[in-house]
Amino acid sequence: MNFQLSEEEVQQILARYPHPSAALLPMLRLIQGRIGYIPPGAEVYAAETLGVDPVRVHEVVTFYSAFREKPAGRYLILVCESISCSLSGGENILSFLKDYLKLDVGETTEDRRFTLETTECLAQCERSPAVMINGEIHAPATPDEVEKILSELA
């Protein structure tokens, strides 16, 4: 997995901050956007490129829930569990997905196509319940619609 960024990409994010260490989150975001997770080698690479302690990079990777230490499936399905979605039947979507994909929350299908996870409020409460698949919002979601979307994915 090549997680290294081009010199141009590094310079572009460094230019936004007065201190290189501040570029850590955007750098990790770029790396994860490219290869889907932050492997240990990428933590060392970020630490060396930005001149920060490797332990601080690891601290950041583990603190922020969006950073992944292991790759997800090709499609990452996030089901909102927060209060407004729960009041509109978000639990039904989750239990449907568990049955349909035969997965528990946090698991990935054997063919590595789908990962099922829950998330906190996605700020889509006016059209709850909300599901996010690879960054795209589907709301309000019903089990039928979600099944249709998944069946059309490669």
């Binding site: 936004r16 901050y17 007065p18 201190h19 260490s21 501040a22 570029a23 850590l24 989150l25 955007p26 990790l28 975001r29 930005l50 920060v52 601080r56 601290e59 950041v60 603190f63 922020y64 829930s65 969006a66 950073f67 569990e81 927060s82 209060i83 407004s84 729960s86 009041l87 998330t119 906190e120 409020c121 996605l122 700020a123 889509q124 409460c125 006016e126 059209r127 709850s128 996010m132 960054g135 795209e136 919002i137």
Partner: protein, 416 residues
């Protein structure tokens, strides 16, 4: 009666583009302010408008701006808090997606007022569409010579960068937000020093919410007196109210501060769905203590809600009907706080998890008669004992739900 200031362009096609924003007179106010007003005059105008922070804390915006020391030799930073994550809240997302230029004009005026040459917009990592819209809007504004370096007006330059969060609610707390921009985990800082004196990269910093800044062009356009008169004596202007839960028309509604909660639910959101009765209403997002059906004539403003023991918070109204389980609702809210507690302060880290354990026990039908009092006791040991307001945010709902709906935390028939 609803009044459209921040939402006035939302219904127009392509409302997010510079062309449409300019057709409605957009950026004229920024131009006039740069040409005719001193930074000090802008701060005074915003002070007189009684604009208070729309992120949750309700701090007077003009006063916040006036705390920034001049001539320290250090750069001044403006940080825009777009880390909207309070359950029930979706107002800033609407501004970012539907009218990002109104926000950018507000950012320009604020930066001029406090003397900021650089600004960071801290955007929730999950806001994919909002991110696209805001980044496009920044590019459009820079190309048109409205933002950026080397602008025609030599008094003003502003470089604005989008900094994406990575899924931590705590980074909406202003000092955790600063830590996050600096490339660290989002642990709130000890205050003092306050950000106005020592904030981002050790420099004087102002952190304002998206909705707060979107109000600023209207204040400078029509004047502080006009804006102030829209609201109550101590809280000027309109507020965005995101309404969700058991209502007929969930959505975003803009009303003057001081509008009764009942009016927003009935007139704005079309009343309770399926002809049911209200059991309770959370008036300002997940961290605000719940109100009973008897309490919803309260005027929606900072002081009136504080008087009835709750908060305006983000203004997010969540309606719970007669069939809603208060046990299940509180468990949902507290799981959120337990998940989002950053772990720095013991009362919050341990308290939120303990509360979840007790609620789960009651929900499993294994509750003890003393559990409601135990919950109140844990909450009492969290409130006011943490560095940031997350401990209070988790304790408030426990106190209000357990006190007002105590029987639901006792009766095994109400278990889930």
């Amino acid at each position: 009666m609803s009044i459209k200031l921040v939402t006035r362009n939302f219904d127009r096609p392509d409302s997010h583009t510079l062309r449409v924003y300019r057709e409605g007179g957009g950026y004229e106010t920024l131009r006039k302010v740069l040409a005719t007003r001193t930074p000090q005059e802008v701060v005074e105008e915003v002070k007189r408008s009684n604009l208070r922070g729309r992120g949750g804390a309700g701090f007077p915006t003009g006063m916040k701006w006036s705390f920034v020391p001049r001539e320290t030799g250090k750069p001044v930073y403006l940080c825009v808090n777009a880390d909207e994550g309070e359950p029930g809240t979706f107002k800033d997302r609407f501004i970012l997606e539907q009218d990002p230029h109104m926000l950018l004009e507000g950012i320009g005026i604020a930066a001029y007022a406090i003397g900021a040459r650089y600004a960071y917009l801290y955007l929730r990592g999950e806001f994919v569409e909002a991110g696209r819209r805001v980044e496009d809007a920044i590019a459009e504004a820079c190309e048109a010579g409205l933002l950026g370096s080397d602008l025609p007006d030599s008094k003003f330059s502003l470089d604005l960068y989008v900094h994406y969060g990575a899924g931590a609610y705590i980074c909406g707390e202003e000092t955790a937000l600063l830590e996050s921009i600096e490339g660290k985990k989002g642990w709130p800082r000890v205050r003092p020093p306050f950000p106005a004196v020592k904030g981002l990269f050790g420099s004087p910093t102002v952190i304002n919410n998206v909705e707060t800044l979107a109000k600023v062009p209207h204040i400078l356009e029509k004047g502080a007196a006009w804006f102030s008169a829209l609201g109550t004596e101590k809280s000027g202007g309109t507020k965005l109210f995101p309404v969700s839960g058991k209502v007929n028309r969930p959505g975003l509604y803009e009303y003057p501060l001081g509008t009764p909660l009942r009016t927003i639910i009935d007139e704005g959101a079309g009343g309770v769905s399926a002809g049911k009765k209200i059991k309770g209403v959370i008036p300002g997002g997940a961290s605000c203590p719940v109100l009973t059906a008897d309490e919803i004539d309260v005027p929606m403003d900072y002081d009136a809600l504080a008087k009835v023991g709750s908060m305006l918070g983000s203004g997010a109204i969540i309606v719970l009907d007669e069939e809603t389980s208060m046990l299940k609702t509180l468990l949902n809210l507290e799981r959120f706080f337990a998940h989002e507690s950053c772990g720095q302060c013991t009362p919050c880290r341990e308290g939120t998890r303990w509360i979840v354990q007790v609620l789960e026990r009651i929900a499993a039908g294994k509750g003890a008669p003393e559990d409601p009092d135990l919950l109140l006791d844990i909450a009492a040991h969290m409130a006011g004992r943490t560095l940031c307001p997350l401990g209070d945010a988790a304790a408030g709902p426990v106190r209000s739900f357990v006190t007002k709906f105590r029987e639901e935390f006792l009766d095994p028939l109400n278990s889930m």
